[in-house]
Symmetry: D2
Subunit: 92 residues, 4 copies
């Protein structure tokens, strides 16, 4: 991962960790269930953004290298892997 | 789209059309809401499969051609487009 | 289902059927994969709206009746069913 | 929230926090992007389970009380709120 993406992803994950701790405190204080659920959904959205940043980096580096390379087997591998990520993420 | 994917995608879409008509009949016959909702969700899943087939074809043809080509602008375009599809589909 | 919801849901499903046929034509005319995928995603969103209308009706009728009723077994059944719908739909 | 659900939800959230920290370490060690993405998706699924537990509790307590109560305005409020949660979660 390039240094800029790495730094941004790490910052976002640390902020997500803090968000999860905040949700724990909401539960300890018996806050309204629907408010807690909405915060949990917000964390899931923040993780979507992290995935999107990592996927962009993956497409620009590993996928580009494999597809520009001469090994058809490796090209097929990265494409199959991308489809799996797509299928898993779209059925969250 | 290669002929085999095209044929498979068209068959699946025609079957999805029939499935949607079946749901209309369930509603006309006042069937239980939850049963109807489950059928609607099944149609959404069937559409996921169609998307996955088209995406595989897209990766193997347009994306591969663009990434193996010499125009960096075109490479960036297909990558940006893939990310958009990924973001839209994973936030369905 | 009350008559107004029934009519609205049926209208939406007929329009979705037409949308699916439109996608078939796009494929027959070899339109750009990404444009087709975006139309398929639009159909999935339209089905989300149909589900939401049916779920509102279900909550206002069957669920309300069961929860206001005196049979605890029936109350548990509708709640369990709602959770299943929620889990299935949120993992689309 | 009843004490048992509260305890289970808190345990799951603490484990999710640890999982997020594990993903940070994977990134610091430059592990393969697709492996990291798959871990992020696993965290999103774990959060789905947390939401489902909180929603069950909400249906069995607040929603049941409101629907069994005599204030139609309050009944409508909890139903509207449930639909919003459903719509937000199913479009993650």
């Amino acid at each position: 991962m390039d240094e800029r993406t790495k730094k941004e992803v790490l910052n976002r994950l640390r902020s997500i960790e803090g968000h999860v701790r905040g949700i724990e405190r909401m539960i300890e204080k018996d806050e309204y269930c629907v408010d807690v659920i909405n915060q949990t959904i917000a964390v899931q959205r923040a993780l979507d953004k992290v995935n999107s940043l990592m996927l962009r980096n993956h497409l620009e580096t590993c996928v580009t290298t494999a597809i520009r390379g001469e090994e058809s087997h490796e090209r097929e591998r990265v494409i199959g892997e991308l489809l799996e990520v797509f299928e898993t993420a779209s059925s969250l």
